[in-house]
Amino acid sequence: MRYDSPLQAVGNTPLVRLPRLSAAVPGNEAGLVTLWAKLEDRNPTGSIKDRPALHMIERAEAAGRLTPGCTVLEPTSGNTGISLAMAAKLKGYRMVCVMPENTSEERRELLRMWGAEIISSPAAGGSNTAVRVAKELAAEHPDWVMLYQYGNPDNAGAHYATTGPEILADLPTVTHFVAGLGTTGTLMGVGRYLREKVPGVQIVAAEPRYDDLVYGLRNLDEGFVPELYDAEVLTSRFSVGSADSVRRTRQLLAEEGIFAGVSTGAILHAALGVGRRAAAAGERADIVFVVPDGGWKYLSTGIYTAADTDEAVEALKGQLWA
C-alpha cells in the first residue's frame, strides 16, 4: 500500500485470526468462537494513539485553534504523547507532556527522541494526577493548546471514522469488540460505529487494575471519569489485574507469536472471558480485540523473559502498564 507522506500512513492495520487461542477457548470444540487481533502496533509510532493524536491535531488546525509555533500540552501515560510529539515535530509545534513518573524508561526516551519536553507528575494517583497537573498548567499558560484526549470528541471521532469502518469491512460478521478503557476514546468511537451497523454487537471494556501502590490514598470523592465516557455505549466492563494481564501477554507471545504490550494482555483476558461465555451458550462469536501497542516499550520490565508469571508480576509492581 502506498502513501504520500508518513502522517498519511496512520491506520489500515491488519486484522488477524488467532487459530490457536481460538481453539483453546474452553467449550469451543465446535469452533463457534473465533478471536481476531487488530494490530494497532503497526501504526507509524507503534501504537493505536496515532489515530486520535493526528485527528485531534488536524481538527484543531482546521478550527484555527492550532497555528504554526504553538505549544501543545497533553497529559499522557506515554503513547498519546509519543504520537503527538511525532506529529508536532513534523508540523513545527512545541510539545509538552505531563506523564506519571512511574512509567517505563522507554516511553521517556521515545518522547525525548521526538523532541517533547516531559513534566513528571507524582506516581501516586497515576494518570488522574497527570490530568490534574496538566489542567493546572493549561490555566497558567492560556496560550498553550491542550488537545485533552480525555474530553476531546475528536479522540473518539478518529475511531468512529477509521478503526470502526476498518473492522466492519474486514469482518462483517463481527459479534464482539473488546478494547482497553483509558480515555475511553477507542470504545466510544468504535462502539458507536458498530452499534449503528451491526445489530446486537457487544462492546466490551477491559479496565486495567493496578496494585495498591498506583491507587495510593486517593479519596473516593476525587475519582476521575473521562468526559468522553458514556456507559450506554458499552455492554460490559471487566477489571483485569496485573497477573492476568501479564499471563495473557506472555500466552499471546508463546502461542501466536504476537509481541504485544501489557495492556493487550488485559484486553485478551476479557476477550477470552466473553469467548468462553459464547462457547458455553453455543453461540457463534467473532471477537475482535485491540492490540494497542507492541512490547518494545516494556522490554526493560523483564516480563517477557521472566521465568514465570509470578516473577513477571513482581517485575511490574508499582508501574503504570496501560
Binding site: 501515560s77 482497553g180 487494575r209 466492563r237
Partner: protein, 92 residues
C-alpha cells in the same frame, strides 16, 4: 454464605487495615448492609441515596456491577467483590 470483599487502601480505616474482609448477602445491597454492621460507616462511603457513588466502582468476579444489576446484583457463595476508586485508565 461468605463472599470475599477486597477493600481499597482509602477505606481500610473502616476494616482495621484489612485488605479483604468476608461478608454475606444474596445481593450487593445486602452485602453492603452486612459490611456496615461490622464496619460502621463504610456503606455511607460507597452509597448515595441507595445507589453507588459516581467515583466508586464495584466488580463482581472482575465484572463491573453497573453492567449487571447494580446494587441489586445477585451474589452467590464463593463470589469475589472488588471495590475500587474510579481512575483514568492508562493513556493507551
Amino acid at each position: 454464605m461468605a463472599i470475599e470483599v477486597r477493600i481499597p487502601t482509602i477505606l481500610r480505616t473502616y476494616t482495621g487495615g484489612a485488605k479483604a474482609v468476608d461478608g454475606t448477602g444474596s445481593s450487593l445491597g445486602e452485602l453492603i448492609a452486612d459490611l456496615d454492621v461490622r464496619h460502621p460507616g463504610i456503606a455511607d462511603r460507597l452509597l448515595d441515596n441507595g445507589e453507588l457513588r459516581r467515583f466508586v466502582n464495584v466488580y463482581l468476579n472482575d465484572e463491573d456491577v453497573r453492567f449487571l444489576q447494580g446494587i441489586g446484583t445477585e451474589l452467590t457463595d464463593g463470589d469475589s467483590i472488588t471495590i475500587l476508586p474510579a481512575v483514568a485508565g492508562g493513556a493507551k
